[in-house]
Every structure is written in structure tokens, then in C-alpha cells.
């Protein structure tokens, strides 16, 4: 059954989300309980006391009986407030069938973003690497600067009227292909100027090869930088050792500190320290705190995504512990006076994306693609190396495989198995298509595990946003 509202308690707040309208309300405990019993279909009404031509709804006797432990006038007052909310369209009731008209507006959309796999090689030996040590199941390759430039041209040629475009340098470890990174950025800037476009470049790095020159270049040219570190030294080094088995933490941490210090001095605040938690560190709030203690303020710790056969895989049995840990992070973040933020708990409830964006999520395979070192195109970085999802090659003219593009452009929340009925549908946008394919065998079938931690994070994020406004 389609959920039209969602209620939850986070901290001491009773929160009501109206799914279709996007409305967010804080309610008192009685209303919170009453929501399970209330039905607004054409209630009886009576004359209001002071105006004979104005009516007021009559609270059903069954509701008064249900809440007989409460003061009857309070029950009636709560019912009246809820009824007004419903009648004013703030408690939608009828679902969001109307948004279905917008779900397929994006078929054949021009390109917006590209993930460039400049290196299919890596200088760390992370136990959970989905890229199989950087090679994505294939050869260890480096993208040539020429291919990087062709990728820029490909994006520009297929971007239509879009002005804002994105290129993310990814790997493997992108700093192992530094020349390609620099040449691609410089070519991109030059071409963007000529063609009236704007590029936002981003890079995700393990930091091992960072030096002053590279840090400076990243700070000058990258709109965002994602720096990989798992948190506490022992947690990081257990699954992120160097190739020789030694600690990467001690090498990387000073480099990240320097980069971020210089970046912040320049006034750029967009960066993330991004880590992974596994079943080895279900107390991952401790890793967030550890990163914060090192002076970083933008922190993200992500759940590992490996098959259950891995010894550190996350499983359904871990969910209660994971949710508790998100609760712990919620409490830590609300008490930290803005010193640091946990990425998933940051949400702008008033000025988030429009409903059209929320219907389709990331846009992989349609407006977002990944390009492997050999120029092969895939729907996103997680599909790289899987033959059946190869969409074409940037060195060949023409559009990518339109069948795959069309499939992804139609992979919106209403096309997915569980999303149409889920309360979180307009917050998560349907989740990650690649993870659905890799773990459930179907890009339109969501993994329960991923849905559950996603929902918990949304609740914490909304509660923190609410707290700022009350």
C-alpha cells in the first residue's frame, strides 16, 4: 500500500512527513498516536459556536474512546487540527499519481556529467575494493591525455543546451594518471570558455601520491575533492593497507590535513573525508569522531557494498546495530555546535531538488555516464567492465547505445519494484541502480538492506533540519 505520510520519533521530536507535498511538521505525542487511527473521509460536522454559517468537524466517538486516557477536549482539538491540515492539502491522502506525468520527461536527456576512470590501477590494497584493485576485473590501464580530451569533446557534443557540466576523476587511483588529469582539466577549461559552458571538476583520491603541487592544483581547479580515509588508524589500516601491507593512515593523514588547510584558506569549503564502514567497525560513529578530532569538518562514512561472502560484509542481522549507530551520530552532531557535519545528515528541507529530479535520482546511463581508460562508455562507474552494459566508445562518433540510455531514462521511482509505495521515495530518488543490479540482479529491484539504512539516515537528517527551525 502506498505510504502517503510517514511519522517517526527522533530524539524527543515527533515528526510527520507528508510524502507528496513535501510538508514537514512537528506534532505533539497525542497527534502522533492518533495518526494511526484517524480517517478524514467526510466527517460529520456541526455549527461552530459563534458563527452559524461556519461549521466544525465532529471528532468521531471511536477516536475519543481510543484515547480515553487523554483529556477529551485535547483529543477533539487534535482531531480538528489534523482535519484542517488534511482538508488544506497538507496531509495528501490521495498519493502522488499526479507526479507520474513527469516521470518520463527525461527520456533522451542531454549529457550532464561524466565519471572519468583515468586510472585502472591503484597503489593501495583495500580489502573491500569493488574495482578489484583498480582494474575492474580487467587489465590495469591508464587513460591517455588524448582520450581524456576526447571525453571532454564527447560530453560537450552531447550536452545540448546545458551550461553546467561535471567531470569526476576517478579510478583506481586518479593521481596515478596525473598528467591525464591536468591535461583534461586544462583542455576542458579552454573548450568550456569557447563554447559558453561551465565545468565543475571533482576528484576522488586515496591521497598516497599527493604532494604540494598536486594539492595546489586540486585546490585551484576542483569544485569538490573526496579524500578516502576510514577513520581511526586501526580501522583504516585493517582494510586500507599499502601494497607492502604497511599503514596508509600515517602517510595519508598529514597530506589530507595540508590540502584541506590550504583549501579552507582559499575559501573553498567543498571537500569530504570519505570512509567506509564494515561489519568490523559497526561502531563507526567513533570513526566520524576520530576524523573530526583531526580537524576535518565535512565527513562521510559509507556502508561497504560487498557480497555476503566477504568476512566483513554487512548483513541484515547488522541493521539494528547500524541504526543505533546512526542514532549515536545524530546525538553527536546535534551537540557539536556546527564543528563538523556528517554528510548524510545534511539536508536543506526548504530548497532541495525539484520533484522532477527526485523522480529519477542520479541519472546514470542517461545524463550521467562513466568512461573507462580505453574510452568505453558505461552507465556509471559501478557498471564499468560489465560487457552487457557497455554503451559504446567515445572514440567512435554517434550517440551511445540508445537502448541502454532509454532503459535508464525510464528507470524512475515508479518503474522500480518497491519505491512507488515507500515513504522515502522522494528523498532517496530510488537509490543506486548499479547496487540494485549487482546485489539483486535487476537495476529496478532495491536491496532491503540499502533501503533500510537509507531511510534511517533520512529520518536523522530531517530531524536535525527540523531542530534548527524550532
Amino acid at each position: 500500500m502506498r505510504e502517503t505520510f510517514h511519522k517517526f520519533k527522533q530524539g524527543e521530536h515527533f515528526i510527520l512527513l507528508d510524502i507528496t507535498s513535501g510538508g514537514i511538521h512537528v506534532v505533539d505525542e497525542l497527534i502522533y498516536k492518533m495518526l494511526d487511527f484517524v480517517n478524514f473521509s467526510e466527517p460529520p460536522f456541526k455549527e461552530a459556536k459563534d458563527h452559524p454559517d461556519i461549521k466544525e468537524p465532529v471528532c468521531p466517538a471511536s477516536l475519543i474512546e481510543q484515547f480515553s486516557d487523554y483529556n477529551e477536549n485535547d483529543v477533539k482539538a487534535c482531531y480538528n487540527e489534523l482535519y484542517e491540515m488534511s482538508a488544506s492539502g497538507l496531509l495528501s491522502g490521495e498519493g502522488d499519481a499526479d507526479y507520474g506525468d513527469y516521470a518520463e520527461m527525461n527520456i533522451g536527456a542531454p549529457l550532464k556529467a561524466m565519471c572519468l576512470h583515468v586510472s585502472h590501477d591503484c597503489n593501495l590494497n583495500c580489502g573491500y575494493c569493488f574495482a578489484d584493485g583498480g582494474g575492474f576485473g580487467g587489465e590495469k590501464l591508464t587513460m591517455t591525455p588524448e582520450t581524456g580530451k576526447q571525453a571532454v569533446d564527447y560530453l560537450l557534443n552531447n550536452a545540448g543546451e546545458r551550461r553546467h557540466l561535471e567531470i569526476d576523476f576517478f579510478g583506481g587511483e586518479p593521481l596515478m594518471a596525473w598528467d591525464t588529469v591536468v591535461q583534461t582539466v586544462e583542455y576542458g577549461k579552454e573548450q568550456a570558455k569557447e563554447r559558453g559552458k561551465e565545468f565543475k571538476f571533482t576528484i576522488t583520491t586515496n591521497g598516497l601520491l599527493l604532494d604540494d603541487e598536486k594539492s595546489e592544483y586540486i585546490n585551484e581547479n576542483m569544485a569538490n575533492v573526496v579524500l578516502s580515509l576510514d577513520g581511526r588508524r586501526e580501522v583504516n589500516d585493517r582494510l586500507r593497507p599499502c601494497l607492502n601491507g604497511k599503514s596508509s593512515y600515517d602517510v595519508i593523514l598529514p597530506k589530507f590535513k595540508k590540502l584541506v588547510k590550504n583549501r579552507t584558506k582559499k575559501g573553498f569549503t567543498d571537500y569530504f573525508i570519505r570512509g567506509t564502514f564494515t561489519s568490523y567497525n559497526l561502531d563507526f560513529a567513533g570513526d566520524v569522531v576520530s576524523i573530526a578530532k583531526e580537524g576535518f569538518s565535512n565527513i562521510s562514512i559509507e556502508p561497504v557494498t560487498v557480497p555476503e561472502t566477504f568476512p566483513f560484509a554487512l548483513k541484515k542481522e547488522h541493521l539494528p546495530r547500524i541504526k543505533n549507530e546512526y542514532d549515536r551520530l545524530f546525538e553527536l552532531m546535534r551537540g557539536n555546535h556546527g564543528k563538523w557535519s556528517f554528510f548524510h545528515f545534511v539536508i536543506d528541507i526548504n530548497r532541495g531538488p525539484c520533484i522532477l529530479k527526485r523522480l529519477r535520482g542520479c541519472g546514470s546511463g542517461n545524463e550521467y555516464i562513466a568512461v573507462a581508460p580505453d574510452g568505453n562508455i558505461y552507465p556509471c562507474h559501478r557498471f564499468v567492465g560489465i560487457d552487457e552494459w557497455k554503451m559504446g566508445n567515445i572514440n567512435k562518433s554517434g550517440l551511445p547505445d540508445l537502448k541502454i540510455k532509454e532503459y535508464f531514462s525510464k528507470t524512475h521511482i515508479y518503474a522500480k519494484e518497491k519505491c512507488p509505495d515507500c515513504w522515502a521515495r522522494f528523498y532517496c530518488g530510488g537509490g543506486c541502480n548499479a547496487e540494485s543490479f549487482l546485489f539483486e540482479g535487476d537495476a529496478r529491484k532495491q536491496s532491503e538492506l540499502f533501503c533500510e539504512w537509507m531511510k534511517k539516515r533520512i529520518e536523522c537528517a530531517v530531524a536535525l533540519a527540523v531542530e534548527k527551525k524550532i
Binding site: S21, E81, A87, M105, K112, E166, V346, K357, G361
Partner: protein, 77 residues
């Protein structure tokens, strides 16, 4: 003036049989609205495509779509 103050005292409710009832506005003490119907309103001015792509894979910094800010230039609408 009289009409305006009168209107604030009720909200119209359309019943299925076509009847419109003036319902008395309640004093809100149990519900605090933090955010109005922003999604419904976004239908009107959404779809500009200026927002960043929002990779949701956990292997990057997975973005919950709603984490993203809208990047449509403010027009004062």
C-alpha cells in the same frame, strides 16, 4: 476589511456531493509546520537541470537525492 477578517476564520472544504462547507479555522497548538508543500510547488518551476548529478552509490560519497541543493537561480518568484 470586514470580508478579509471573516475569511481568516474558515477554510473551505469540498465534499463529494459538490457541497462546499466553511470549516472553522483551528488555533494551531499541536502541529507546527516546519516546511510547507515544497515538492508540489517545485512542479511549477522545476526541471532546469542545473543541479549536480547525485551519485547514489555508496562507493562514492553516496548522495541521497534530497541532500542536494536546488541550483536553479533565484528569480524572486
Amino acid at each position: 476589511m470586514k470580508d478579509k477578517s471573516f475569511k481568516r476564520e474558515f477554510y473551505p472544504v469540498k465534499f463529494r456531493k459538490g457541497m462546499v462547507i466553511k470549516m472553522k479555522t483551528t488555533e494551531k497548538s499541536k502541529i507546527k509546520t516546519i516546511c510547507g508543500p515544497v515538492l508540489r510547488e517545485s512542479v511549477r518551476k522545476g526541471g532546469c537541470g542545473n543541479c549536480r548529478s547525485s551519485c547514489q552509490s555508496a562507493c562514492k560519497t553516496s548522495c541521497t537525492v534530497a541532500n542536494q541543493p536546488c541550483e536553479r537561480p533565484e528569480t524572486g518568484e
